[in-house]
Subunit: 273 residues, 2 copies
């Protein structure tokens, strides 16, 4: 069923706009997903939609109707908006005419830990500040094939619109879990998963450490690095060599280097060991 929306004072529109704010996301357990690519990943990966706002004036291709039908079949109410109204909902410079309201996944740490492979590969992100960085880290985690991402002691919530955007939908293609640092650390130790911490003070380069076993790559904020409990409990500390004048890399960039080193080491004949 499809509805027409022409007034910006409509309560559904107002609720949608409010979801740009974290407080409203926390209170309602809902969040916004904007964009064809992101919505497609969400729909294909079992997200529950409450409604979908569309504005045909902004459509970029010819595949939108099929995706809208798919999301409607999943139970979402479809609202057609004028471009003026849609622009209030959108958080992009160049909207593509699709914004959905979905239910937060709220996956649980114990479930993830109970379903790991025999040689787990996890990413732990502690207190990442910028949504764009967290989203880019999720994109890299998907590409590297990690079994799950655990966001500890969040600064930005994973349902922030800019996390969804920078992740290009990979927030939905893999388990992404929010948990406390303490709970996470205990779970890793129980499963005998090695904690790998990157820090400038480490003595070995990341390409010289052994990542072939069960590992959790743990990264923290750019400004402060990892908190004391993680540094204290790390099984392996590695540094990323810095040859220039700057003293650090972008946190999403540094994370990806570590993730892909795991892939390199786990692949094929390891003559370099």
């Amino acid at each position: 069923m499809s509805h027409e929306l022409t007034s910006p004072h409509n309560s559904k529109i107002k609720e949608g706009i409010k979801l740009k704010e974290r407080r409203c996301r926390d209170q309602t357990g809902l969040f916004l997903i904007e964009g064809y690519r992101e919505l497609k990943q969400a729909a294909e990966n079992g997200l529950v939609f409450q409604r979908l706002f569309i504005c045909e004036d902004f459509f970029l291709g010819v595949n939108e109707p099929a995706l809208i039908d798919f999301i409607a079949d999943l139970g979402a109410e479809i609202y057609r908006c004028s471009s003026a109204i849609f622009e209030k909902l959108s958080y992009r410079d160049r909207p593509d005419g699709l914004v959905g309201v979905a239910v937060q996944m709220k996956q649980k740490l114990p479930v993830l830990m109970a379903t790991l492979s025999h040689n787990p590969f996890l990413l732990i992100a502690e207190a990442i500040e910028k949504p764009g960085n967290l989203g880019t880290m999720l994109r890299s985690a998907d590409a590297a094939g990690v079994e799950g991402v655990i966001v500890c002691d969040r600064c930005t919530d994973i349902y922030n619109p800019n996390v969804v955007r920078a992740s290009v939908g990979t927030l939905f293609t893999q388990p992404v879990i929010e948990a406390s640092g303490r709970e996470t650390l205990l779970s890793l130790q129980e499963k005998k998963i090695k904690v790998v911490a990157a820090t400038p003070s480490a003595k070995i380069d990341f390409t010289d450490a052994d990542f072939t076993g069960a590992v959790a790559i743990v990264v923290g904020t750019e400004q402060l690095g990892l908190s004391d409990p993680w540094m204290h409990c790390a099984d392996i500390k590695v540094r990323i060599p810095m040859q220039g004048k700057a003293d650090s890399l972008n946190v999403a960039v540094a994370t990806t280097l570590l993730l892909y080193e795991v892939i390199r080491q786990r692949k094929g004949p390891q003559l370099w060991k």
Copy 2:
């Protein structure tokens, strides 16, 4: 000599604000540098300053006066602004009270090519769209110790405020040159520097190619990849393995993986060759 500015209609303030626009940067050959860290790198690396706007209300530490004196000694006029005026100049969410106007470096490709080491290591960025990505790439290039970055057929100019910001000042710590793709390709071929292109269609993983000789890592836009001339002339084509559902990595992230693979291969006993 220091001046007080209290009117937003002052011509120096108006000129400064206009430098946020590319057209004004292109016309004047000037650009803005905001932030303590970025200004310090610029001053220490020989940038020529025209003026420096300061607002003590926003200072975060105690080192600002020393940096201001240093930049004044380099010939800049110092302007003290009210916070209301300073906020019009600033392009940051949290300004730190320092915005400089400097002369664009305009380094030349032939000079870079004439001063390369015996085993060059370069980064070529073609038509990168987002200033934040280009800045992050410069930060990674500095960290990886490349001998120069060549920005070909620019979409974003290297003097865009968000390039400066995301580079955290590494725009000034290394040669960063704007040149045409044609000119760059001919120079690389003349110097027998291998062109390495990353493309999903390549048959070998980036960790299996040989990057120990003279190399130029060439990266293009996320949407379209590298242009035909670069793809056609590439000496080595490599892919970055993608294990998940997304089809690409963030361009700055992908670039850094390639740059650090060069470091890994060039370092120490290369048993994996």
